[in-house]
Symmetry: D2
Subunit: 363 residues, 4 copies
């Protein structure tokens, strides 16, 4: 249990951090789509560890191998599957401490859920590494969207208390979004970016970790995507976003701040110009009644601090049934937020093509 999502596009992910391979089957892709492998690899690298001082120095190739659904440079329309073989595992790291539950990790809940049969090495199936296949799927989805001029981009809105500028919900430019996806540390304000990085390194020194908020936007999406209630854009997007390990909050448009407005401000008043209807504001984040209104989609995602920290923590040894303490050794990210940026974009892209196929929008 865990691995299938979607209606028109179905994702089936599999794998454990220290198993043979992780991977994905994507069912429902249209046939005839050219894949730009350079682009996919670039997206995979954005997520991959070992690229920066603010991330874990672990090196993982994250090289995908397409196993099916791809022929002569194009999708066939039959299930496209890809595997990422695990190569750089140090499983012995985990054997000694396998019964000591790491706080903030799924060690304990996974143990209960799977009656002790879960692969505990490196978090097993719960590992953030499982987001690599999601980025692979997202890279394909982004190419499909890009063919329709739809652009997704995101930035690190905050790390701890340090805040980047916000997206302008009404006038956001595709060019800014594209620029952001090219950045190694995705912020609008480079000054704030430097502050954030310094802060992360300081936290790393403390053997501690820190979280942050990612803000994402989508422009040029057609009006009328999504449905009321159970297939609302917010429902489908949040479902996938909360699947990403470490996500603890999701908000659209003005989000929680909308609760402090009055209706006369929060309502996005409409106007028509050259037969096209737009809104003066975008507090609803481009989605009203669960359906896109043609304004940019805007949402924010709260990412908790990496649970793996070097500091001493109180916890439990489930085999011995005693209280104990743990200092987590190893090569961990002091802040997972920068590496989560492409994952957020990826699941957003997948959710959108699933929703667009509902109205035949991809065909």
């Amino acid at each position: 249990m865990s691995g299938i999502w979607g209606k028109n596009i179905k994702l089936s992910i599999f794998g454990e951090s220290h198993g043979k391979a992780i991977g994905i089957v994507i069912d429902g892709l249209p046939s005839g789509i050219k894949l730009d492998h350079e682009y996919i690899s670039k997206e995979m690298k954005r997520r991959a560890p070992g690229r920066s001082k603010t991330a874990t120095p672990r090196k993982e190739g994250d090289n995908y191998e397409i196993l099916s659904g791809y022929f002569n440079g194009r999708t066939t329309g039959t299930p496209l599957s890809a595997a990422i073989y695990n190569t750089n595992q140090r499983s012995r790291d985990y054997e000694a401490t396998k019964s000591i539950m790491r706080p903030g990790h799924a060690d304990y809940t996974g143990h209960v859920r799977y009656s002790g049969f879960n692969d505990y090495r490196g978090g097993g199936h719960f590992s953030g590494r499982l987001t690599a296949p999601l980025v692979f799927a997202g890279a394909i989805a982004k190419q499909i969207l890009s063919n329709k001029n739809i652009v997704i981009g995101s930035h690190i809105k905050s790390i701890g208390d340090i805040e980047d500028r916000s997206f302008d919900g009404v006038n956001i430019e595709a060019s800014l979004l594209k620029e952001l996806t090219g950045k190694e540390f995705s912020v609008i304000d480079p000054e704030k970016g430097k502050e954030m990085k310094d802060y992360i390194l300081k936290i790393k020194e403390e053997k501690d970790s820190v979280g942050g908020v990612i803000e994402a936007a989508v422009v040029n999406l057609p009006r009328g995507i999504g449905s009321p209630f159970f297939d609302s854009v917010e429902s489908k997007l949040s479902h996938l976003l909360f699947s990403i390990p470490a996500v603890k909050g999701v908000e659209f448009g003005a989000g929680f701040d909308i609760t402090k407005m009055k209706g006369s401000s929060s309502n996005d008043e409409l106007y028509i110009r050259k037969e096209e209807i737009s809104a003066y504001s975008n507090n609803n984040g481009g989605i009203v009644g669960g359906i896109t209104n043609g304004m940019p989609i805007i949402f924010r995602v709260a990412i908790k601090p990496t649970p793996s920290i070097g500091k001493l923590q109180r916890t439990v040894d489930i085999e011995k049934g005693i209280n104990t303490e743990i200092e987590i050794e190893g090569r961990h990210d002091p802040c997972i937020v920068p590496r989560a940026v492409p994952v957020i974009e990826a699941v957003c892209a997948v959710a959108l093509i699933d929703l667009m196929m509902e109205k035949g929008g991809l065909i």
Copy 2:
């Protein structure tokens, strides 16, 4: 498109605000469950309009009629369906202004989504009235949970800037939750409740509206419910929560605030006492790796201000293709938050029994 949710329990809602009836089919309920109609009616009344000065004076019976799946006072195990017949519609209210899109409402997006064939009267299928069947389903789900001593409760965490006390994520009592569900205006601190009510009435005078935050909690839920990734408790819950009209944000545990903590604080350290494992804190809101850890589930939901306001707003007449203005007449809620409280609890209850059935927990 819109109306089906769930895996083990499947909800299929239908209806329009001014149609013949709204209703629901619930597929997958175990057989043999006694229904307490007094309780169901009480839950329906919590949501129903016309009960208080802070809500719309519209009277809607919200009397459900069970059409199937119920025999000799118990569920049969076959699809349980219920209809709520619409009785108090004034459809003529809407005919004159049908082409004038109300800002913040789904008038425009619904028009685009359904190519102009949507029932525009009173919001049609997009109406908040469609949450009545959800409350019906939730009342049954709550009874099932209650049989297992699992209690859901919630309160109005804030209206505008006025804040109620927060739940104590570690020590929350079932008795408090039960008490809250009995209240007509659900707050922990009655002083703050009075302030909120006064504020809502003031806003009503201004022909404006206001939103708020609802905080919900679940206690006594078994450990090990939920799955990683696509069937995480957060994913399933948020999917349903964002289906509720007007919800723009969802967060679990410390939510967006967790991004300002360090890992050494945000990690919920564990301890064992009398063979039972618990956590010292509950920043993860009772869910780690998508799975319950035995701590109370805590989440908050942002509800936007009611879009229907009497103030003058700029908008579009889609038939004439011109810019225009609108003052929405009629009997509207200045604040939907109090009536949304039982809806939040209802979808939470439904999501939980769906998740619990995954592990055979209801059988």
Copy 3:
């Protein structure tokens, strides 16, 4: 459990034979479809009892009431639901014998499945009466197909040993199919039809029952509908066909007889004429690799004899835990086949529009 089917079109049926109402929610219908109520009623009447001497004399109105999803004469695109209220129940008939399991009926299996909480009156949810909502859905689906010139028709291929002519799998005409759907007793050869009717009446005299085979055909369906494996046309169609009570066999094209051919005969050789590819034969029933090839779809369905018979049968009293005997009184069909004809066509129509939406064929 029981009531939801489909991907693009989702059916959710509910109800019990002697409950308040039976009905259906149809999710996913396109908006803007005009409904021809005269046609729907005619289809409902084809299935309804009390129309002929070969059927039960019970009178059931089978009048549907649309509750939602329908506005100004057209579908809205939101869930369309309809109820058929039960009016002519004689529940007392069943009370006395409720613990005596009728052979061939679901009395015993339903009792086990639902732990004795099932509504046993008139078969409850297992009643053939539940096919009325399917015919309602099918009538809508047929209208959608008819707008695209796609025609479904079927006939009684056999009753007992009496056989009607078979469809010509290659040259079948839409006009014949339309003609058949207009018949009260649907056969190609009226002589054989008379024989069948006489036989049914003779069996009725004997207080016994008889079954038969229905052969259905679909013409003018586009090529390329369906998918390999789990979404093959055969898989989707058979799934729905075997949902119909009393169906015990389904075969496509030459069906079981294809096993007696050699490949050189069973392979449908292809030819091209005026840029259109066709086949010389149609042993595959218009479906190869799970996908339509442009030839007529042909399939046959085996319907077992009505289980309700007046003859003495051995069975079990589950309350007393003893062996006993039963003579089923009441107004039963000596042969359900004629009334099953529109049901077969209905589920076929629904399956086809679900499959066609996969490729955007309805949009």
Copy 4:
């Protein structure tokens, strides 16, 4: 599109005959199940080519590699995936004739369905080779069932006109079923088996092919598995059975022959002995109202002659848009029936565990 099936157990198959690998992701397996690899390999070999003179001499290793969901000899409960790498392809065989549509194959329908982007080599995703992952999944499902003493077995009921004895629907023994699964050529009557083999070899000489019927049985299944209508045992089983390439008919119990009986014979009369209810006959094949009644499940599946034959056939060259002829060279099965036997059993086993999990039967 094509590759996902199931509710409690979800299968996601992928791959093309001449691609990198074929494989499967199985989601929803309980944790802690020991896998007997010797048994799995044996099942895979039953399906694999190259084992007998009546089958293709092609050698395919069909060695599976488990990529995830398996740890320390047991299932983890997270998605179990396996790949079978393709090693013995001769893709050049297909390049020259890629535009010539082989009659009876999915060349033409696949071409239309996927707009010409399908992998045409060796049938691509339509290849019977894709049943290998199904057998892998079935082998696991059979082990789960075997732990509960549930046994599935089947035999070649007929090849062309040559018929094996039928199963005794009432008294079938688990020992017979086990014995059959151990046979290289699965028949009850060895004389008939010899006749069948001789016939297949004769047909092979003629460069032709032949089909047959497989009869399967399941014993010791609990009563009360399945649901009415859309989740009937017949619906779920037939859905999977018709997913298998070459299947053109499915019937349960007496199947099409039940249409020639009278109700007084076809109804399976019940009796009680030592508190256990059984039936005197089994014309319903162990399923009444879509639900198991404790009698053996019996069903038969019609398999068409292998479409690949060496004889001259008329067909179409879709590139040139002309009529042409084809003689299919290569190493093909003159009769696929013997190799289909384990596939039928496999999908049956998977369908049953999916259905059993509905009632918590596996937990």
